[in-house]
Amino acid sequence: MKRSPEGAAKPTVEPGLEGTVKRGLLRRLPPAWRRPLAVTGGLVAAFWLVIVIAAPLLAPHDPLAQDLPRLTAPGAGHWFGTDELGRDVLSRVLYGARVSIPLALLLVAMSLLVGGVLGACAGFFGRWVDEVVMRIADLVFAFPTVILAMVVAAALGASLQNAVLAVLVVSWPSYARVTRGLVMGLRNREFVLSGRLLGFSAWRSLRVDILPNVLGPLLVLATLDIGTATLLLSGLSFLGLGAKPPTAEWGAMVADGTQQFDKWWIGVFPGLAILTVVLAFNFLGDTLRDALDPGTARTIGAEKERVA
């Protein structure tokens, strides 16, 4: 508790922010969320979530309509330029958010569920359950992630659902491993054992005693993973194994951009979209970790402030 008054270090950050309302609002946030990176991450993520919901209202054109002049540089009427078929790149980037972000979230949720349940079973029951689940996880870990995802996607056929499945296959083991470790540490603790002695079923014990204790770290992992999932999904589309044309999808748009190298706008804007989403969710993940795990927050926070 040496450095518990985190707020005392805050003034170094606050002078940059103006207005008492804003300051009051920020002050009400937990300390970890007041860092500039956390605020940036939050704002950018919120920005993209708004776009996901409101894309049809914001997009100036139909993302599939091929009625603009081809390969026009960014300018009035088409702020991000047009692609090789005369489609508006801005509208396609906005609509692309509706594909990439929900799918990345869905993917992480599914990985969390699959990996978490399997890992919890492995950690709680041990013995052969543990052996089987963890050896399968090791097997997946042994393959390079992208290559394995490519193999799965290629075997199932190119489509977005299959790309999600492919990434799911490679992403669940990290959750399983983390969950297993946490559950193994908890299963012989007094509060769990006492529950068992009171006659709790394994399921109830997992749900009531263990889940609340493992959820925090898992959520941190999941948030950090949203960026990776976005990248992997876009990567598969880039390779032609994800989104089917003419769907507006960022990875596929970047791939189009590589065909027209001197028309930079075709690839740069969807690339920037991927970059900002990945960065935003990584910042959020960091913050979440700091907030949920005071141990690391203290050391990392102290380290950061010492550097600053």
Binding site: Q66, R70, L85, G240, P245, P246, Q260, K263
Partner: protein
């Protein structure tokens, strides 16, 4: 500079590196001056080259190289492939049944080593191509080559072969010096071992000789002073370099090279620096295939549906994707070949007619899958782009097209086995003669890929058989026009376009002409 990099100023290092880069970039521009003085021509192309041995090569870059190194019996002038002109043979006669072709050799023709070109050399060279069973061997399928006298050669085909005069200009059928090749392990049998020698030294009578040859980096050709042909080459030295298209653009712009062969239409727009762009129609015809097999799709097998697709496509809008120089062929035979339908016969968009045909087809809400190779580009035009445009156009008619992109290797199987409902492919000619397109007829190779079975259209088959055996350019032209008109009315193929071929050249280079067989004849290029 060594003072800076000595270590006390590590911050200066990146600066030095940047300065060095900038300097080297500037120096690139100066090397161009050497070309005009020494009459060296630098041609940039993305290599597809395996060998310089005419009996074995059939790759685009190999054709450019061998066209310069070897003379063929007949040739084409510039980009005109509708009429064979004299090469090593000064004249030829074809028998009435189309089976015998007699060629008279030009007097006084000499190889680069000074020895005379004889009928024996011709017989040896052509027999060697047949015996090697290499990529170009099919050109002389069923042909027997015999020497009649010292200056006459007779080619006898098993079946009538009116296309032979159009096949002979292929650089793979270049004439080699029998004596030289035999002295270096060559023979007109499968055991021939002259390829290695022919990749270091040429043995032909062409306007250039081979100086150095590397299939990955560059090929250097030097003028043959003993060349006996009519048009003497202008440049003393030709350097052919393997360069990818984006770099070709940079090189030709800053004068590092004088010719760039592989720029796409989008890349040539906005070229600066007084460069000339020669855009001509490629002989690759991109077409849409509608499968006739009701098991594959009862929709595409429907004749009225096919009519709706044919009328529903906006061909002009497709051409805008391929840029200047691209044309819409009126039939499957490219516009530059003998027997091509006149442009006025080409299909146009008729949206109302397409909708009416769709109603008449009796199919409510038709939905079909379009298969294509997503990684394939035809003369710089991506089939992916084209497929997306076709999809959007047919949507306006009321046809839902689901795109099914796949890597070429996968999709080629579906195409060859006739499993595609709609297919988007192209046909690149093996030789510039309409008979190469009989393969689209019912029961033939490409026809079967649309499940157009033999007997599906007896009239068309009869016309095809007649065209295959008739000689005489005018009669053949009429027959092929009839065939295509009938195919357009009832066939399963819809020719969409011939993309453009762009040759970018420096202002000093003259005589640039795109030829579908050998891309460019470097010996015909001039300087001003």
């Amino acid at each position: 500079m060594p003072r800076f990099s000595a270590g006390s100023y590590p911050v200066a290092l990146p600066l030095v590196a940047v300065a060095a880069l900038a300097l080297s970039a500037c120096s690139g521009g100066t090397s161009a001056s050497g070309s005009s003085a020494g009459k060296t021509l630098v041609v940039d192309t993305s290599f597809n080259l395996k060998t310089a041995d005419p009996g074995r090569e059939f790759e685009p870059t190999g054709q450019i190289v061998d066209k310069a190194l070897y003379e063929t019996l007949l040739s084409f002038k510039g980009s005109d492939v509708t009429k064979p002109v004299p090469g090593l043979a000064s004249s030829y006669e074809q028998s009435a049944d189309g089976k015998t072709l007699t060629l008279h050799l030009r007097a006084g023709a000499k190889f680069a080593d000074g020895s005379a070109v004889t009928a024996d050399d011709v017989v040896f060279s052509l027999n060697r191509v047949i015996a090697l069973k290499g990529n170009p061997s099919f050109l002389l399928d069923g042909v027997t080559v015999t020497k009649t006298d010292a200056s006459t050669v007779t080619l006898v085909s098993k079946k009538a072969n009116p296309a032979l005069p159009f096949i002979l200009p292929n650089p793979a059928l270049g004439i080699l010096s029998a004596k030289t090749v035999q002295a270096h392990g060559g023979s007109a049998t499968a055991t021939d071992g002259a390829e290695k020698y022919l990749n270091t030294t040429s043995a032909g009578s062409g306007p250039y000789t081979l100086t150095s040859f590397n299939t990955n980096t560059q090929v250097v050709l030097t003028k043959n002073p003993k060349y006996t042909g009519s048009d003497k080459p202008t440049y003393d030295k030709i350097v052919l370099r393997n360069v990818q298209a984006p770099t070709q653009k940079l090189n030709v712009q800053r004068g590092d090279s004088q010719i760039a062969l592989d720029l796409t239409s989008d890349q040539v727009t906005g070229l600066s620096g007084g460069l000339k762009v020669d855009s001509g129609a490629s002989s690759d015809v991109i077409f849409l295939l509608l499968n006739r097999n009701t098991k594959v799709s009862s929709t595409t097998a429907n004749a009225k549906f096919a009519e709706a697709v044919r009328k529903g496509i906006d061909y002009k809008s497709l051409l805008s994707l391929a840029g200047t120089g691209s044309v819409q062929p009126a039939g499957v035979i490219p516009s530059t070949f003998l027997g091509a339908l006149p442009a006025s016969e080409a299909a146009g968009r008729d949206l109302a007619g397409a909708k009416a045909a769709l109603t008449a087809s009796g199919i409510a809400k038709p939905s079909v899958t379009l298969g294509y190779a997503s990684d394939l580009t035809v003369d710089g035009l991506s089939l992916q782009t084209l497929a997306e445009r076709v999809q959007a156009q047919l949507k306006e008619v009321g046809i839902t097209v689901t795109l099914a992109p796949a890597p070429t290797t996968t999709e080629l199987d579906n195409y060859r086995n006739g499993k595609e409902q709609l297919g988007l492919w192209y046909w690149g000619p093996d030789y510039p003669d309409p008979s190469d397109y009989l393969t689209f007829l019912p029961g033939n190779l490409v026809g079967l890929r649309a499940d157009w079975k033999a007997g599906a259209d007896p009239t068309l088959t009869a016309l095809g058989d007649k065209a295959a055996t008739t000689i005489g350019d005018d009669t053949r032209k009429t027959l092929y026009e009839q065939i295509q008109t009938r195919m357009n009315a009832s066939g399963p193929f819809i020719p969409l376009m011939q993309p453009s071929r762009n040759t970018v050249s420096a202002a000093s280079v003259t005589g640039v002409a795109y030829n579908p067989v050998w891309t460019i004849d470097v010996a015909a290029l001039g300087a001003k």
